[in-house]
């Protein structure tokens, strides 16, 4: 019966969608370099770097994100650090994700078989070149699917930032509900919006996966072959010893 008012307030909800997407994008953008830094730190031959990275990872993984948000927004000002709600939200979510994702990065980098590194040593290749041109192109395609996972999780994780007064999607939905009292409609719409966003994001990740594979020089299966019903040829290794 209040269905009409839900659609009237759709533009208001869309404002929340923009904020949600903004925080998701910024937090993931922060998480990416953080995860690489932490992963490389943990793999470093320099012990203090390993300890430091390990401490940061355990700190963010081991404490509640809600409490971290409160700290960033309500406690840091006592130490003279004033963050805007957006900055606090992005910082906490980004560092959180960066800590979790650093383990994915580390595992992917370690998954490159020893023979590749040995070849690089035997060819006297500079260390940075080895990382950039040999390790990374082989490790990156492995990281993309879990990164997509993390991005979709982040999308829903952003609801947490409503605790520091950010008017993202779920915050605005809550306001509408308490003012208009139309829970079922509004949360139905919000559910649909989150779902649409997540699906859109998954498609983006799929495209990113193909782009990364192409950049890394991996074979990308053409779309037509992927959708055809023709049985694909047996993998080559099936005939090898």
């Amino acid at each position: 019966m209040a269905g009409e008012s839900t659609f009237v307030y759709l533009p208001y909800l869309m404002g929340g969608v923009v904020t949600t997407l903004q925080i998701t994008a910024l937090a993931m953008l922060l998480a990416l370099p953080v995860s690489f830094l932490l992963a490389l730190g943990r793999m470093s031959s320099f012990a203090p770097a390993r300890w430091g990275a390990g401490f940061v990872i355990e700190l963010f993984r081991g404490t509640s994100a809600v409490v971290q948000l409160f700290w960033a927004f309500y406690v840091l000002p006592f130490f003279g650090v004033e963050l805007s709600p957006l900055a606090a939200g992005v910082l906490v979510l980004g560092l959180n994700e960066g800590s979790y994702f650093s383990e994915v990065v580390r595992a992917s980098l370690k998954s490159i078989v020893a023979g590749q590194r040995e070849a690089a040593v035997a060819l006297h290749l500079p260390r940075f070149y080895t990382f950039r041109r040999i390790v990374l192109p082989q490790a990156l395609p492995i990281m993309v699917p879990p990164f997509g996972n993390a991005a979709v999780l982040m999308l829903k994780f952003t609801a947490l930032t409503s605790l520091v007064t950010i008017q993202e999607l779920s915050f605005r939905a809550g306001l509408l509900r308490s003012n208009l009292g139309v829970s079922s409609d509004i949360y139905g719409v919000v559910l649909a919006i989150y779902f649409a966003l997540a699906v859109g994001m998954a498609s983006l990740v799929w495209l990113a996966e193909r782009a990364v594979n192409r950049w890394a020089g991996r074979e990308v299966i053409p779309w037509r072959e992927l959708t055809s019903r023709r049985a694909s040829p047996a993998p080559k290794w099936a005939f090898r010893r």
Binding site: A119, A122, L123, P126, R241
Partner: protein, 272 residues
């Protein structure tokens, strides 16, 4: 340019016949397993040496020591007159750092049993990129030389293929071209045909044979292909349990071995 600087002392040492490899009292253990103990080994510049012996006898470890993939627990390794892990200051040896070792082992190349090509690069990229990085060549020149090398190992038509599109024998030939691109004075071949299907072994051995006959590069070849070893090597070393039990020309070592272990090993391998 870097290559010109390096080539000067090379000629001098080669003409003096100074050993390009000199190992003294080398020990290497992995945990409680002692692989090499008190190993002394000299290899003269230009020599083609076949290393044979049962698996686990330390042959591969010697190659890995020479290219710096592992460090010896004790003893010294000299490559082309320079200590690999030490620097001599006023007659006393001091432990040298990684950078020193990198510079000394620059003239060594290695080809692996499992090829270890970079799977995301074409055959050409596998060869020309290391040349750019290490020899500091400009890309067009590196590519041109890489093409010539690939043609020389019979892969002129396959330069733009990825390793996954090549047979094992072709991959191994790319790996050989990749190492040759860096103009090593000492090449190490670690069972380079052991991972190949039997019908592909010949094409790789053919490349090795050609290298042995047509270059004055020093070659250390770990192999189980006894007849091949007898054919191209100037010298055969038989290893057993981390020691050289036989050292001499292929005629003497393979036809008339003095050590009972060698006889046993040769019989086992020839009766395959």
């Amino acid at each position: 340019m870097g290559i010109v600087d390096r080539s000067e002392p090379m000629k001098a040492t080669a003409s003096q016949g100074r050993p390009i490899v000199r190992m003294r009292g080398v020990r290497k253990a992995f945990g409680p397993r002692v692989i090499l103990e008190g190993l002394d080994l000299d290899v003269g510049a230009g020599e083609k040496v076949a290393l044979i012996g049962p698996s686990g006898s330390g042959k591969t470890t010697i190659l890995r020591l020479l290219i710096g993939l592992t460090e010896p627990d004790a003893g010294t390794i000299e490559i082309d007159g320079q200590y690999l892990w030490h620097s001599s200051r006023g007659g006393t040896l001091e432990r040298a750092d990684e950078a020193h070792a990198r510079q000394v082992r620059r003239c060594v190349g290695m080809v692996f049993q499992q090829f270890n090509l970079f799977p995301h690069m074409t055959a050409l990229q596998n060869v020309h990129e290391p040349m750019e990085q290490v020899l500091r060549l400009k890309r067009p020149e590196a590519k041109e030389r890489a093409r010539a090398l690939l043609a020389r190992v019979g892969l002129g038509e396959h330069v733009d293929k990825r390793p996954s599109q090549l047979s094992g024998g072709q991959q191994q030939r790319v790996a050989i071209a990749r190492s040759l691109g860096l103009q090593p004075k000492l090449m190490l071949f670690d069972e380079v045909t052991s991972a190949l299907d039997p019908e592909l072994v010949g094409e790789v051995l053919g490349v090795l044979r050609e290298l042995a006959h047509e270059t004055d590069m020093t070659m250390l070849i770990v192999t189980h292909e006894i007849r091949f070893a007898a054919d191209i090597a100037d010298r055969v070393l038989v290893f057993d349990a981390g020691r050289v039990v036989e050292d001499g020309s292929p005629e003497i070592v393979l036809k008339d071995p003095s050590h009972p272990r060698t006889r046993q090993f040769l019989r086992a391998i020839l009766e395959r």
